[in-house]
Symmetry: C2
Subunit: 96 residues, 2 copies
């Protein structure tokens, strides 16, 4: 599934609620999901639970992008496109 | 670009460095990127800068998934797949 398709799916499911909640509320949910992902990683016991937390983070990120009207796929490819941002090589050969 | 392709691209670019940095270090970077996204959203002035922060978050998320060996696209679709998780409808019609 394309990043853009995933974002569109989230739009069709949740845009009304997301837009009512607004940028701040949705960003705060995203922060909570990042914390939950961190807890699962720290425990390191339950692969399925960790996968669900990864799913939640990308889902809330898509919701946030939908409220602001940003195309997450375009934004991602504009910045990361098969070359290291600094050394311009694949794989990255930065020496720092 | 598929979520999986984006993750593969990040793997080809940065996996060596990501795996050396490890789960904790990479998670901490992701948290920093979430904070930077929050700062841009609070300012609300610079659309291009905000798009770059969205790009960074999904990039670090992909790096983290690569270290753990999780397929982010599969994880996302397993949980979010054209139906609300709670009410099972599209769009979501939850009344809470």
């Amino acid at each position: 599934m394309h990043i853009h398709e995933f974002q569109e799916m989230m739009h069709s499911l949740y845009f009304k609620r997301d837009s009512e909640r607004g940028v701040n509320g949705t960003y705060n949910w995203l922060v909570d999901e990042i914390a939950e992902l961190g807890e699962e990683l720290k425990k390191g016991e339950d692969r399925e639970a960790t996968e669900k937390e990864f799913a939640d983070v990308i889902a809330w990120l898509a919701s946030l992008a939908n409220i602001i009207g940003i195309d997450h796929e375009k934004a991602a490819i504009n910045k990361y496109n098969y070359k290291c941002l600094k050394c311009q090589q694949t794989p990255c050969k930065c020496t720092f």
